[in-house]
Symmetry: C2
Subunit: 404 residues, 2 copies
């Protein structure tokens, strides 16, 4: 292998290892592979169970013709079984690279065949191909890298021996980086699963339904997005808001589930749910839970300072608390509760408007009302059904075999 | 740089990227660096806040003299401030490598000095040193790699230019791998934090104390360890067991907190906590929560088939359920409850023995009783205090400023 190529590979390895977002990583892998081999196009398949999933593609020809965004939309995720019929499948099964000078000349008795459907559909001519297995450190196949049409002096030429060597090395680096990015994804998803169970476990004895939590989350996201929050912060408030009432686990049933009006003493105890939530979520290193704690403690504060537990006023109330206040009250008014029907739309909006600047931050309320179209879609998507109000009433019908 | 060294580095990069355990990774980094430079010894410092923390070391001389384990015990974690006085501190601040042919000849007017304390204490002579900064992809210092005494024909010689070049490349690879391993650790710890909050949130309205959950966890670990579970499985049951009563969030206060005996109807509802827990934890991709689900559903089954909810018998009951059954009942008998004092030791053991083979798996009970010394240490470490029974009674004394 050429010494400058080897030196390049060290830097590439470091660059790949630094990317934990799978989509970005696959894109960098493809663009790097294109550069190393002068390939016009390339794509990556990842192995999931017994399938090859088409995950990423780049193509100079298509990018010039349609632009990057449109090309990626056209070549969406698709999947195929891992069999020796297809070129990618053959490589995934044999774990050996294929360097095909001209796919049109693959003999018909060959186990694998080139499928020209997409070429015909999109007016592209695939000639040379270099396809390598993406093997992890234990030599297990995790995907296939497919490079198409090496270009030299504006002509399509076969991939060289040097191309094949460097791509094989590069594929090992790419495979371990992909595996790490997937591990990071798995860890994050596992954590999210636990966070949502935390919300749902505490929702069980509450009067609210699971859909209430989902709706409040979505309404908060709509507000945050339209207030100009960054993509990350929008996601953060979306994930943090289902825990806003987590402190209700500490409130006695006699108060939490009381059908009528609470006495002043009972109300005082009920209001502690904001503080109990903050105690449960105290000192967490988890960003989502830190936000949940702020929301728990402040979602019952009012803009004019008459809320609880601290009577904070105006912008003293953290913005997350001001957002959830609007989302939570809107949901209480606009959806059915076991003790009341949903209010009609005009009545809900009238009540919200009447509390503009007293209960609600006027700016946040305005943003919310301006986006009622989005809000309504959420309300209808996560509408409560009759059985949602009858939690755990069907224990005796449970199929145990599915629980273990 | 020599071509064979460059090629080696590609493989090294892949190997480093595949290790997510920080201690194992640091050890591999050191042994690889020793091989690349013929160094007799080496150590790694990681930067944490404004300190350099000594994290790992290897030394052929010491390993020969004391063995690997003893050496690593002697050179335990220690820390020092990042200042230009020390060699590692100098490298961390200037971000430049130092290749020192002979530390005894460092001029006294030099900003950094060699500290010979450890050499004198352990009869070692440091002469040549090669110290490189571990810089991440954004050129931020995350640690320092220190190599000592390059050996050639049994003599200590200075590190060469080639050693310096390859170690610098290698240091970049090592830094990104260290950063990734730390990220994985952080993600795992964040997740554990959430899992423990899930347990503690649901424990709030239960009659049990937080220490009850800790004790049951530890007792289960003792049993699993002595049953010969793998290290991973022991840890898994330790982390999964605090959720055994999570389903109690779904039981009404009137039953959950009833002081006297339950009626048969109330008991039937109370027993549903096993199923509610399994529902809350259903279909989780998280290994710990999968185990928690099994434990929730089966920790009230009895060995003779008279338990609930399914009346499973003998080995039909998953082993985790049989373990927690012993740990949970032992804890109920041996610790104070708000309605009863702790039973004396002999009485507790007598009751357990009487239920050997009926309530409890005899093998598991025997293992537990054989390890009462360990059990007692746990019981005393996590003993309940008076205030533990008075949950959230001190709301009004809470310092709000610490909650937000």
């Amino acid at each position: 292998m050429l010494i400058e190529n080897i030196q390049k590979l060290i830097d590439i390895g470091i660059a790949l290892s630094s990317i934990h977002n799978l989509d970005k990583l696959l894109d960098l892998i493809l663009s790097t592979a294109q550069t190393l081999t002068n390939a016009d196009s390339g794509s990556i398949y990842l192995v999931e169970k017994d399938k090859l999933i088409f995950k990423a593609s780049r193509s100079n020809t298509y990018f010039t013709r349609w632009g990057e965004e449109k090309t990626k939309k056209i070549f969406k995720n698709f999947e195929m079984p891992v069999t020796k019929n297809s070129i990618a499948g053959y490589v995934a099964l044999t774990l050996q690279p294929l360097n095909i000078p001209d796919v049109r000349k693959i003999p018909s008795e060959c186990e694998y065949h080139y499928n020209p459907t997409l070429d015909k559909k999109y007016n592209y001519e695939t000639i040379s191909m270099l396809v390598t297995p993406l093997l992890n450190n234990n030599n297990k196949i995790i995907g296939v890298l497919q490079l198409i049409n090496s270009i030299q002096e504006n002509k399509i030429v076969p991939f060289t021996e040097e191309h094949q060597k460097i791509t094989l090395y590069f594929s090992s680096q790419a495979a371990v980086a992909i595996q790490n990015a997937k591990l990071t994804d798995e860890l994050k998803n596992a954590h999210l699963d636990t966070i949502l169970r935390l919300a749902s476990a505490t929702e069980i004895r509450d009067k609210e339904t699971a859909n209430h939590l989902k709706r409040v989350s979505h309404y908060s996201r709509i507000i945050a997005k339209n207030l100009g929050f960054s993509k990350e912060d929008v996601e953060l408030i979306f994930l943090a808001s289902p825990m806003h009432d987590i402190g209700k686990v500490g409130i006695p049933d006699s108060i939490l589930l009381k059908p009528g009006k609470l006495t002043p003493e009972e109300r005082k105890i009920m209001e502690k749910h904001t503080i109990i939530g903050a105690i449960i979520l105290k000192d967490s290193p988890v960003e989502i839970l830190v936000k949940s704690r702020i929301i728990s403690l402040t979602h019952h504060e009012k803009f004019d300072g008459t809320g609880y537990p601290r009577g904070l006023k105006g912008k003293e109330i953290p913005i997350e608390g001001r957002i959830i206040a609007v989302a939570d009250v809107y949901d209480a008014l606009s959806s059915k509760r076991y003790y009341k029907d949903a209010f009609p739309e005009e009545k809900v909006i009238k009540i919200l408007q009447e509390n503009r600047g007293t209960h609600f931050d006027p700016e946040i309320l305005d943003v919310f009302l301006k986006n009622m179209n989005e809000v309504k879609i959420i309300r209808e998507t996560y509408i409560d059904k009759e059985e949602d109000f009858d939690k755990f009433s069907n224990f005796d019908k449970i199929d145990f075999s599915k629980l273990i």
